[in-house]
Symmetry: C2
Subunit: 367 residues, 2 copies
Amino acid sequence: MISFAAGNPSPECFPTDAFREFCDAILTKDPARALQYGITEGYTPLREDVLCRHAAISGVDPLKNTAIITAGGQQGIDLTCKVLCNRGDTVICEEPTFIGALNAFRAHGCNTVGVPMRGDSVDPGELEAAVKRAHNPKLLYLIPTFQNPTGRTMPYEVRKACLRIAEKYGLIILEDDPYGQLRFAGDDVPTIKSMDTDGRVVYCSSFSKILSPGIRVGYVICREDIASKIAVCKQVNDVHTNQLMQMVCHRFMTEFDLDAHIEKIRSVYREKAELMIGALDDKCSGMIGYTRPQGGLFIWAWLPGCEDHDGFVRALLEKKLAVVPGSTFGCTVGAPSTGFRLNYSMPDGEQIRKGVTIMSETAKEFI
Amino acid sequence: MISFAAGNPSPECFPTDAFREFCDAILTKDPARALQYGITEGYTPLREDVLCRHAAISGVDPLKNTAIITAGGQQGIDLTCKVLCNRGDTVICEEPTFIGALNAFRAHGCNTVGVPMRGDSVDPGELEAAVKRAHNPKLLYLIPTFQNPTGRTMPYEVRKACLRIAEKYGLIILEDDPYGQLRFAGDDVPTIKSMDTDGRVVYCSSFSKILSPGIRVGYVICREDIASKIAVCKQVNDVHTNQLMQMVCHRFMTEFDLDAHIEKIRSVYREKAELMIGALDDKCSGMIGYTRPQGGLFIWAWLPGCEDHDGFVRALLEKKLAVVPGSTFGCTVGAPSTGFRLNYSMPDGEQIRKGVTIMSETAKEFI
């Protein structure tokens, strides 16, 4: 079985030696701090690191925002929805979008309304129409950079338009940016958070894709009043995020060349993505449509004109290739897939070549 | 300032060297497993360890139960309430009880109804009357052993009566047992979970008080259908508990003499508790009432006949002694304190003696 279905970072990108060294140093020099109860908002030096780094790389205003450490990006999404939405409110999403966020919104009793991805992103006109139609729209959930599952990056003008729509209709934007630092081609596009003047954007990210997902350390950057509500909810939920891993992340941000490490991850993913896109160009061109991501972990693919993508995904599975059907990422439960997600971070070169060959052969039979 | 207000285990009880050694060994031998995404239900070997240990020490039936790893005991309480209760349901609690649980129940929109502690525990007749009066009673939340905040242990006959009442009225019992392994005097009393024949008891505990609270590793032991609902909620909440610390806990349960370590903790707390109780006997006898815990971290104290415990707590604070006022642990928000909580795990011997002297002097002025 070959899997293009994962959402995991590649284990070759884990800075294992530094993890070992930092754990050892902390448990030698400051064990009581690492093992005792911590503060709900997070380890203060790490909160400062996160805020300063994102001031530098994401255009966050450190005077108008604070950072709160969460148990991975998922808890950031979950608690943000919990504090901002009531049951019956609507969360407007890109369609398709991240299943973990959709499930969090649904768990809080929210309706999820999808605005279809067209080309690089959503169409602002369609987005505004969806907001107008929605019952109690509260939150606009966006993954503007290297979106999951499509790998697409929202253009600057669309980001500005999304913020204008949020302002016009009194929405909060939840900007989920787990992949933003994993750009391996093209130029950075400013975050929506960098354009935020009135605290309307809640920015979520994590260390999962640059250090390790197993450590469950993420963060939310937002204005103080929202952060303190998140802290109240977090205290009831898990008291605080595991302290040793927060202290390890602080070391990674102060005693380690994080930028050089991220550059290494980018080169690994650049190579894997180029390999997969090259194989798709070679073998699937004309039969299968696919995105050309400039970063992140995912390619979105589809068979033009096909009305049974779920059948195609099942046919791939019979030939021992696993991909994730698009319906997984749909705002409307039970709606058929309009494509499927491919991951290139986990498979090796040979698996990428073989898997794309299976896709090509299956597509020929399927058309 | 002297503090009897903490709820923390003593840092001298943290097995620091073993933490360092286990982190090092895992990050040397199995780094990818420690740093990659894990399974929502928890690291399988740790789930097995937990189930087997509690089969041996807590009378859990390992064939009728499963274990799910949580981010500390708090997440176990939070998610158990989330899956078992709807908004407007009632959770019946001991009064006073653990504030973290009360806040979790309230956050899920539940009413909290308190049954007053009388002598060693609640009165079963009063408990049954409270259940009868309650609107949609669903959950009976109990800390039967070394209760927080009172340090009291529910007698065997009362445990049986609680289970009978739960059976009669179709309630689930959430048995919270973070301190059960910290007995330093008297004989073990069987857990309510050990008497559970029909899966009515959800048992929560953690590694916080025997290894470290900062690592945020706890667990829920319950029947399969409740555990799978908890797993669905946990996936949306934080995906899984931090993997390295779960693997470290597994090592503590398989390559470390955990029982000898717990015996050491018991002797530390035995000494501290005897010191505090001895000082209270010496200086406060006749003026202040207090419990005589046989384990755990807390003593409950009160001034007989006093109607202003909050004033007494403020008077202590003016003399630089911090204790936690009883109102903190009340099911009824805004109700006055009927006592206050003393912690003996954090202060050293001199602080214990000085603090009790302050209590005695203040009580003399106050009566």
